[in-house]
């Protein structure tokens, strides 16, 4: 090998902006042959944007990319693939009704002459060889839909290396994996390393960064804030770089007097979770932690009336509530700040004022018509109170930054008078400054007598902000910790039961 230890990939001064945000600001990285380069950063730091540019899903605004020393303009995903770049996304793109072998060779099935019919035998054989190289035991004929998430991931890796991958990018690959599965993934990564594949490993879990990476790049708010050899750094340094400030300042926590029980959930069963019981008290922030697929989102959707409840009781302020629809949930003064604000939270092409009043159109005036003056007063009040940065009340929310969009979603529920606010990953995809503001807003709500349920997979966040933490795994609550008891290890352990 001629350029062993040579630079396989160089991304120079990459900048990318979206309406209202600079997602990447002059970021440069270098990737050596056969190394694992970690990219560390909080949600919204720009990790995904960087990868999407490399994969040809986004076009950079400026900067240049070199593959094997050759300057390379990546204009679409197939060009990226042609140069040996493979990305395994967090949400796997498997074709669930096809077999393992078909998934590995999708788009490039092995064929035999004279009519170019699919050569099943050759395909299954080659698939078995590739899986063998990875030291995994999977039947090439198995249907993808029947596999576990970690097995699907292995198939994605097999698919990537079947086409001569030089650079393999893994975006939060362990988000849905148990500890054991994570270890077998690391074995595969090490196998690939010895074969000379370079790997970009994206994560915000420090433990993994130390375990698997050779070097680590730290991003914050779209900027590269550090590059360290993994052996030469420690967790403290990385966290400080990642959040850019003191932990206490990052997660402001005020003690709020916790009052009477406002929500009681008894033996709740629905699609995605079983036998869930817990309660929530006035002034409290209840954290729910769990891996992808643990049933967290299904639980809050059921509480909010968006998913059907099979059995069990929900008691609000001592009265049994029959929450059959989000409308009823809203009338019970429950608000949901959903996981994906763009899909579930906002009417993106309407203005700020339309969105702030979306859950409470009825109160926009007496009778049939909207009182436009009243609407402006209401929306203006929340924009001011929550510090939503927008040029006008008419501005399309699409063009606001993630943090301001999230505030609009929250304002919507405050406008409709919600007293129980459920936030699903509230700080996902927003910058550090906006995160702190969201934490403060949550605590203001508690001080004003509301109660908050916060789902989060960001360990430092949930450990610092929640008064009490429930851990979910496979649709059940596996543990409950008070803020003083909870540690990173305990939460992860309970999440993998």
């Amino acid at each position: 090998m001629a350029n062993n230890n040579g630079i396989v990939l160089k991304m120079d001064n990459i900048t990318k902006t979206f309406p209202g945000v600079i997602a990447l600001d002059d970021v440069s990285i270098e990737l050596y042959k056969g190394e694992v380069l970690g990219i560390l950063g909080e949600n919204g730091a720009g990790k995904s944007t960087l990868i999407k540019i490399l994969a040809g899903n986004y076009i950079k605004d400026s900067g240049s990319i070199f593959v094997d020393g050759q300057k390379f303009e990546i204009k679409n995903p197939s060009e990226a693939m042609a140069s040996g770049i493979r990305v395994i996304y967090q949400e796997l793109n498997s074709l669930n009704n096809l077999t393992v072998a078909e998934n590995i060779f999708v788009g490039e099935q092995l064929v035999k002459s004279p009519f170019k019919i699919v050569d099943w035998k050759a395909m299954n054989k080659r698939a078995a060889e590739i899986l063998n190289e990875l030291n995994v035991d999977l039947d090439p004929n198995a249907i993808i839909g029947d596999l576990s998430i970690s097995e699907k991931q292995v198939v994605e890796i097999a698919k990537a290396i079947s086409k001569e991958a030089k650079i393999l990018v893994m975006d939060e690959p362990t988000a849905a994996l148990s500890e054991e599965e994570t270890q077998s993934l690391f074995k595969i990564i090490n196998t690939l390393k010895t074969k000379g594949v370079s790997i970009i490993y994206i994560s915000h879990r420090l433990k993994e960064i130390f375990e698997i990476t050779d070097r680590v790049v730290i991003l914050r708010d779209g900027k590269k804030v550090g590059l360290r050899k993994t052996v030469e750094t420690d967790a403290n340094e990385l966290v400080t770089l990642m959040v850019g400030r003191d932990i206490k300042e990052m997660y402001p926590k005020r003690e709020v007097l916790i009052g009477e029980t406002v929500l009681e959930v008894k033996n709740l069963n629905a699609e995605g979770f079983n036998d869930i019981s817990f309660n929530l008290r006035k002034g409290e922030i209840l954290g729910i932690f769990g891996l992808l697929g643990s049933g967290r989102t299904a639980l809050v959707k059921a509480l909010f009336g968006a998913n059907k409840i099979h059995s069990g009781e929900i008691i609000i302020n001592g009265k049994k509530a029959n929450i059959k629809s989000p409308k009823i949930a809203r009338d019970e003064k429950i608000g949901l700040v959903p996981l994906d604000r763009k899909v579930e939270g906002l009417a993106l092409h309407l203005g700020v004022k339309e969105n702030v009043t979306l859950a409470n159109i009825e109160d926009l005036g007496k009778g049939f018509l909207i009182n436009k003056k009243l609407e402006k007063i209401k929306a203006g009040k929340w924009v001011k109170e929550m510090g939503i940065k927008t040029p006008t009340l008419e501005q399309e929310v699409n063009s606001l930054s993630g943090g301001n969009q999230q505030k609009v979603v929250l304002a919507k529920w405050l406008e409709s008078g919600s007293k129980i606010i459920i936030l699903n990953e509230p700080t996902r995809g927003i910058d550090v400054g906006a995160k702190i503001e969201i934490y403060k807003l949550m605590q203001n709500l508690c001080e004003e007598g509301s109660a908050v349920i916060m789902i989060s997979s960001e360990l430092p966040e949930i450990l610092s902000i929640a008064d009490r933490i429930l851990v979910m795994s496979k649709g059940r609550i596996t543990a409950q910790y008070s803020r003083t008891e909870a540690t990173e290890e305990k939460l992860l352990q309970s999440a993998c039961i």
Binding site: A329, V343, G345, A347, E354, N398
Partner: protein, 327 residues
């Protein structure tokens, strides 16, 4: 502060002329041009009044169908509804029912047809394009059955008045209906809570549902209103032609939807203005009327109408993708 337009806001830029604005300019230019080229007949009462009468029943349906389409649904059964309504009205008249009762029953029939579409689209959850293509055939089939496939005379003072009556002796009654329905739908869409829900649903049905808006109810009622309006259109057409026959309204769904789309309503929902629909419908009618009185061969007229639609919609797409690129 300028009023927000739900459709054509382009963030961070100077307010440009909206698509609807352009359509009205085109409309005025076409009208002037046609009046000149087609003089003296085009700009005469003898031409304009029948044209407006024809426009009226197309226009009222287009206005209400715009509401349906902004929520992201569609109703193809309007033409079938017109055919069935025409036959039903003529049939009931032939049985000696009083005119006012025939009108009430016909409109009620329209409500039933609209409610059935709404039921299929919201409760059952069938894609409304497929569902209403189905019901289009059903309505027309019932019309054929009821009339035995023949034209039936529909003459009665009340029915006559709907299409051929005058208010204050000069304003044709269909024009009055046209103006009232456009004014009402404009108020609903631009000023009312109902209209706000419609735009919210069209922009993001999931977020609207998760904000406590009863998405199915809003869609259902829009279908219901569309059914009633289509049968009102059917009554006007019956009155104008003085016969009820099952072929009434055949192919009209495409003409009406073309006008709406020409006016800037997106098939995917969320976008659309009542004034845009007004302009789009007017432009298509003017064009058709002008080409007809210029004795252009009917086959060519169809080509022109189709080409105009494709051209305008392509222009929208280009304008929109340019606007996106600038962001």
């Amino acid at each position: 502060m300028p009023e927000i337009k739900a459709s054509s806001m382009e963030p961070g830029k100077k307010a440009k002329i909206s698509n609807t604005g352009i359509l009205f300019i085109v409309l005025v230019v076409l009208f002037a041009l046609f009046s000149y080229v087609g003089r003296p007949f085009f700009f005469s009462v003898l031409n304009l009044i029948p044209m407006l009468n024809n426009l009226s029943f197309i226009g009222i349906i287009a206005a209400v169908l715009t509401m349906v389409m902004v929520t992201g649904e569609i109703d193809f059964s309007i033409g079938g509804n017109i055919g069935l309504t025409a036959c039903l009205a003529a049939f009931l008249l032939s049985k000696g029912l009083p005119g006012w009762l025939v009108v009430v029953i016909a409109l009620f029939g329209g409500a039933v047809m609209g409610a059935f579409n709404g039921f299929l689209a919201t409760v059952v959850g069938v894609n409304s394009m497929i569902a209403t293509i189905g019901t289009m055939f059903i309505w027309r089939g019932i019309g054929y059955t009821l009339s035995n496939g023949e034209s039936m005379l529909a003459i009665n003072p009340v029915i006559d008045f709907i299409g051929r009556g005058f208010i204050f002796k000069v304003i044709p009654f269909p024009i009055v209906i046209f103006i009232i329905i456009f004014a009402l739908t404009y108020v609903v869409m631009n000023l009312s809570k109902w209209g706000r829900s419609i735009y919210a649903i069209g922009t993001n049905p999931m977020a609207s549902y998760l904000s406590g808006i009863n998405v199915k109810k809003v869609k259902f009622i829009n279908f219901l209103l569309c059914g009633i309006t289509a049968s009102l259109g059917g009554l006007i057409l019956t009155s104008l032609s003085a016969v009820g026959m099952p072929q009434h309204g055949q192919g009209l769904e495409l003409v009406i939807i073309s006008g709406i789309v020409l006016g800037g309503t997106a098939l995917g929902g969320g976008k659309g203005q009542i004034l845009g629909t007004l302009a789009g419908t007017l432009i298509l009618s003017l064009l058709y009327n002008f080409l007809t009185i210029m004795n252009v061969y009917y086959y060519y007229i169809q080509i022109v109408q189709g080409a105009v639609l494709v051209l305008v919609v392509a222009t929208y797409e280009i304008r929109q993708s340019r606007a996106l690129k600038r962001v």
